[in-house]
């Protein structure tokens, strides 16, 4: 009888099943069988583990080792190492991708490690309702000092020296405020605590009151002693029942202990606190309104002066600070101002607590030194953006604050620096937004909030913000007009100047700030009725379609697939994009990143569906309407470059009757599709087939005809061409500019790919290093692997997170055997007799944030090492190929050699010459090139025909008769990914890697679409 060595708990939840846990299990069983261990291992299929992001998941006992992201290939190692030899496989255990440490110690987790917990020092440590535990952490010793050991002036001096500034938003020096109140003589003075935390997204004060209420009480006692007040109020919002309860208990127990009441610590100092419960009015966060509310009146602000320090609550001198400010005070008195000022910047001392929310991985309450870089808060403490999406902006300071875009992730978070960017510290709400947030809609949201909360006393706030809101509503509904932005700005400045209180004066800030940093989004809404975030319902039919640069009706063709109506689906696709077959193989499919199905389980596998669809087309093309138009046919249009953009432009022109001519310098049409993308991703026969479709429409393609050599732009004009579309791409490989780059064995990625695509013999490659992290880099690496190479290593100067290439593609490359080294950059190519022999590399580390919002790699000192290689492929970017194109001498170029065009007319400085694709954008995606072609076709037609009202057959939505039941609750079903051929079948050949779904799979997958395009009958 054999004993059971190990129990494997494998997660068979939906997500892990979709991730292939079944295959992993089978692989493990096979390995166990090989080693005759089947009887000694018990495999249990468990339900969902909840850690779906890292599935398939397996827990192994004894020991409870947590394995993640398992693949069938991992089985031999797992069985051999862990089960047989008892050595856990660290590689597969749960790790933080960046630090690679297996068991995190608290300080090693950036969320905790990067924080500086001073005010929150008791969080999670003490039972909030137990005063003794607070006292055990030196609680009330500062109050004792304040009452018995130092003079009131001494307290004021210490607080002044500490540099403490109001944490409620304004940042007014606390010590100074106290000094004003202390100077007044009156029979009664008050100390108030503002706990009316009304900013959306802010919950710092609530957490402090809940976790450590005595810190606030103690701070108030000290303040009362300093200014000579005998009564205090905490004005706390009614929405915080738990905070109210805990604070109430804290006050009661203080009375029992004699810490509140008469003759505190046997002195002549008496002070007591009451709670004033708010009743839901945001404006009561404003100090004069707050006092009116405590007095039992409508919480309307009044003009200042007189300031509360002179005439406050019931006309008496009053000090008002917020919760966090008070919680700082005991620390200052106990540890001294010198200790306090050890942390912070010159003018902003101590720490600041933020309520970090929104699109970050770690949502929560964080305390950091003043002056901490915003990027550190977002990426280190916040753990980066959810789902790996890009950071777009941070909204700081709530409805009075502003936003900070990615260009400024380096901003130190302190009062002055934020002010310079048009934001404010505010009370500490910090909302992180990704590309799914529309900045215009965000501004509208804040204005709606302020409008709703305006007390109505002064017209600028009551009426002015209403007018602003109306304009913003129009813009988000697609009814924006030219001049709206200027109108908003004018109103905003007028309101800022004339409103009565802080609420009104700061109300326009979110609008001004979004206009300042995201003006182009406002313009897109107004001019193009386009919401790039896919948020504004009136402008977005379905998020996937909105995201597609070419505007393909995704839900339309997907639903047609679900009904088996493939020809109609292809026809619909070709309304906006002539290349379903090509795009099903090479498109970046950003449509999937916006799929709402993600909220339910995972996005619809749109590209895989398209691939299935394309493969159903075998004999003739399913085409949308093509119009014969004699008038248009008479006008000659030249297109330079037969890449995706040029061909797309030719296609759309042909559909409205033109017969354009395409000039191509290379022997075959297709551009980068033919010469840049390897055969295993896009077979040439697929490309040829869809190019034939363009030719069938009467488009003439003249190959081996080069601009500058065989013809010129001006020459075309003389030949009678009415318009020219320049779409020659970006074929120049960027150079590293380091020693040895011209050695034999060093290739530019574009050259390397072109040579392999034309079948040129590159002889033996040996050990290959590819430098870069984009598509060209991955394509080069995977191509090299298929040629006569010994090994392929990819080096990238940043980390996986910053790589432009999609994670799936990278995974596939790694599976094929490409080694990837992150944070490595080449310094020098070492040569022997003019031939490459090694690359000297250096390790990098990530430093500050650059303007793209990514951390800039900086060299690690003395980290150089040599990597022996025979071949190096430099894939660090592409630009205009200057040998092929010098702007023909007549076109205006940008500094980076791209061609300048007018955004609306797409014309260059020559009105009859238009441009698009990579020559305008720099290296970009196939679908952007196609979209440019489509858009330019319209521009060219408008230029030639001057018919602004002409209706283009591809614009406007097609009415769909596919069935859809809006009431049916969607069932959670796993997504089907594009299947691929086995690794063993990819060696040394260029056969296509991806394969199509089966019809059954495709139709089921198509049914997963939630049909966001569906609207109730109007």
């Amino acid at each position: 009888m054999k004993r059971i060595r190990a129990h494997l708990l494998m997660c068979f939840g939906t997500s892990c099943l979709a991730g292939g846990v079944q295959l992993v299990k089978e692989a493990i069983l096979r390995e166990l069988e090989k080693r005759d261990l089947l009887d000694e291992v018990n495999i249990v299929e468990t339900g969902c583990n909840g850690f779906c992001a890292n599935g398939p998941i397996m827990v192994m006992y004894p020991g409870g080792y947590f394995y993640q992201k398992l693949k069938p290939e991992d089985a031999p190692e797992l069985v051999e190492e862990h089960i047989l030899k008892g050595r856990p496989v660290k590689r597969l255990m749960y790790v933080d991708a960046k630090t690679e440490k297996v068991i995190p110690y608290l300080h090693d987790i950036p969320f905790f490690g990067k924080q500086k917990t001073r005010v929150l020092r008791n969080k999670g440590l003490i039972a909030a309702e137990n005063i003794d535990e607070y006292i055990a952490r030196e609680g009330y010793e500062a109050a004792y000092r304040a009452v018995k050991e130092i003079t009131p002036q001494g307290i004021v001096d210490e607080v002044k020296k500490s540099g403490l500034r109001g944490r409620g938003g304004g940042g007014f020096p606390t010590g100074l405020k106290w000094e004003f109140a202390a100077r007044e003589s009156a029979d009664q003075k008050y100390v108030l605590c503002n706990a009316d935390e009304g900013d959306p997204g802010a919950f710092m004060d609530r957490s402090i009151l809940e976790a450590d209420p005595h810190a606030v009480v103690e701070g108030m006692i000290i303040a009362a002693r300093a200014v000579g007040a005998s009564r205090g109020y905490v004005y706390c919002r009614a929405e915080y029942p738990l905070a109210l309860e805990r604070l109430g208990k804290a006050i009661n127990v203080c009375r029992e202990y004699g810490l509140l009441g008469d003759n505190i610590f046997d002195s002549d100092f008496s002070f007591d606190i009451e709670i004033s419960k708010g009743a839901g009015a945001f404006v009561c966060g404003e100090e004069t309104a707050l006092m009116a509310s405590i007095e039992g009146r409508r919480g309307e602000p009044r003009p200042r002066p007189p300031f509360p320090a002179q005439k406050g609550l019931w006309g008496r001198p009053t000090v008002l600070n917020n919760v966090e400010t008070y919680a700082n005070v005991p620390l200052i008195i106990r540890n001294g101002a010198d200790w306090y000022t050890e942390v912070g910047t010159e003018k902003s001392k101590g720490t600041k607590i933020f309520a970090l929310t929104g699109a970050v991985n770690n949502v929560g309450l964080v305390e950091v030194p003043m002056g901490t870089m915003l990027g550190e808060i977002v990426y280190d403490i916040g753990g980066g953006i959810r789902d790996g999406r890009p950071f777009k902006a941070a909204q700081i300071g709530g409805p009075s604050g502003g936003c900070i875009p990615k260009e400024h992730l380096n901003v130190p978070v302190d009062y002055e620096s934020l002010d310079k960017l048009g934001a404010i510290m505010g009370s500490g709400g910090l909302i992180i937004m990704d590309d799914n947030t529309c900045m215009v809609d965000l501004a509208r949201f804040f204005l709606e909030f302020v409008q709703d909360e305006s007390c109505g006393k002064c017209p600028p706030c009551r009426i002015g913000t209403k007018r602003m809101l109306e304009i913003l509503e129009r813009i988000t509904q697609g009814k924006g007009e030219e001049g709206d932005i200027e109108k908003l700005e004018k109103l905003a400045y007028r309101i800022k100047e004339t409103a009565l209180c802080g609420l009104g004066q700061t109300a326009p800030n979110p609008v001004l700030s979004t206009i300042r940093h995201f003006r182009e989004e406002y313009e897109e809404h107004i001019r193009y009725k386009y919401c790039r975030a896919g948020v504004c319902a009136d402008l977005v039919r379905a998020p996937c379609q909105n995201e597609c640069p070419a505007g393909v009706d995704v839900p339309g063709y997907v639903s047609l697939i679900s009904e088996g109506r493939y020809r109609e689906a292809l026809e619909l696709h070709r309304e906006r994009n002539p290349f379903p077959s090509i795009c099903s193989r090479v498109c970046m499919h950003t449509c999937e990143t916006k799929c709402r199905r993600t909220q339910l389980d995972s996005p619809v596998s749109i590209r895989a569906l398209k691939r299935f669809l394309a493969d159903t087309e075998t004999e003739y093309f399913s085409m949308p309407v093509v119009v014969e138009d004699e008038n248009r046919a008479r006008h000659k249009v030249a297109i330079i470059g037969a890449g995706p953009s040029g061909l797309s432009c030719a296609y759309f022109l042909a559909r409205i009757g033109y017969k354009p001519t395409v000039f191509e310098s290379r022997p075959e049409p297709g551009g980068m599709l033919r010469y840049g993308i390897p055969e295993y991703r896009l077979p040439k026969k697929v490309l040829d087939q869809e190019i034939r479709l363009i030719r069938n429409l009467g488009v003439e393609i003249k190959t081996n005809t080069s601009l500058g050599k065989d013809f010129t732009i001006e020459g075309l004009r003389e030949e009678g061409f009415d318009a020219v579309y320049l779409a020659i791409g970006a074929w120049g490989s960027m150079r590293l500019g380091i020693e040895g780059e011209d050695a034999r064995g060093v290739h530019g990625a574009v050259d390397f790919l072109e040579k392999t695509n034309t079948g040129e013999d590159l002889a033996r490659l040996g050990d290959v290093v590819v430098i870069g992290g984009g598509h060209a880099a991955i394509d080069s690496a995977r191509t090299a692997l298929r040629l006569d190479s010994d090994s392929v290593t990819l080096i990238y100067r940043r980390t996986r997170d910053e790589m432009p290439v999609s994670p799936e593609e990278l995974d596939e490359a790694e599976r094929e055997g490409i080694r990837v080294k992150y944070l490595v950059t080449p310094v020098k190519f070492l040569t022997e007799d003019g031939r490459l022999r090694a690359v000297t590399c250096r390790n990098m580390s990530l430093g500050e944030f650059d303007r793209s919002g990514r951390r800039r790699p900086v060299p690690v000192e003395e980290s150089a090492f040599d990597l022996p290689v025979d071949t190096a492929i430099v894939a660090i970017g592409q630009q205009t190929d200057e040998d092929a194109f010098r702007g023909d001498g007549v076109l205006q170029l940008n500094r980076n050699k791209t061609v300048q065009i007018d955004r609306d007319s797409r014309a260059t400085n020559l009105p009859y010459v238009f441009a698009g694709g990579d020559i305008v954008r720099g290296p970009s995606s196939v679908v952007h090139a196609i979209a440019d072609g489509q858009e330019t076709a319209v521009c060219i037609d408008r230029y030639i025909m001057q018919e602004p009202d002409f209706k283009y057959p591809w614009t406007g939505e097609k009415v769909l008769d596919t069935k859809f039941d809006p009431d049916a609750d969607p069932v959670e079903t796993p997504r089907v990914d594009t299947p691929t051929v086995a690794l063993s079948d990819r060696r040394r050949n260029f056969h296509e890697v991806e394969i199509a779904l089966t019809e059954k799979q495709a139709r089921l997958e198509a049914e997963r679409c939630l049909r966001c395009d569906y609207r109730e009958e109007k």
Partner: protein, 176 residues
């Protein structure tokens, strides 16, 4: 808000509640700033502040009716309308908003067939928009009575409402 769940137009009950109110109002007589705490008491007893309660508050505290009205209407927390047995508050605080709170609200509006601030004709649900109740980490959040439902999706709201619908129908059927 405990007593409010017993929605009853029965006059006897209202009389009783008004008497309780009068008792409790004594504590706020002559107290500076006593009006708002007094109104909290009234709202707590009735679940809303009926005209009769306003009159009592005005009389006991010796504050003109108009002033009491002024304060009641100023603060969102006070309401002069009776409410449904269950209050559905959809958070539109920024964190919830950017995570789809708006779509959740639209779904509730459709499902309940009412607008924000209204109560369903059967007196079951009142729909409200909330300004963040501190569950930002769980956005989008919806509060039904005292329960916070986290990460609510438009497709899941039917199931949420059902929980409460069941709760009430059972005892009613038992009573019949």
């Amino acid at each position: 808000m405990t007593a409010s769940t017993e929605k009853c137009s029965c006059e006897v009950l209202e009389e009783e509640l008004l008497a309780t109110l009068d008792d409790q109002l004594e504590a706020y007589k002559g107290m500076p700033g006593g009006l708002i705490p007094a109104l909290h008491v009234a709202q707590g007893l009735f679940g809303y502040i009926p005209r009769s309660a306003i009159r009592h508050v005005s009389e006991v505290l010796d504050i003109p009716m108009s002033e009491v009205y002024g304060v009641v209407s100023f603060y969102h927390f006070f309401t002069t309308q009776p409410r449904g047995k269950h209050t559905v508050s959809v958070c539109l605080g920024t964190a919830c908003y950017v995570r789809g709170g708006k779509r959740v609200l639209e779904a509730f509006k459709q499902k309940l067939g009412i607008d924000v601030g209204a109560t369903t004709p059967d007196g079951q649900f009142t729909l409200e928009v909330a300004r963040c109740f501190g569950a930002c980490g769980l956005a989008p959040a919806v509060r039904v009575d005292e329960d916070v439902h986290r990460r609510v999706k438009p497709t899941k709201i039917g199931a949420i409402l059902e929980q409460y619908a069941e709760e009430i129908t059972e005892p009613e059927e038992a009573a019949v």
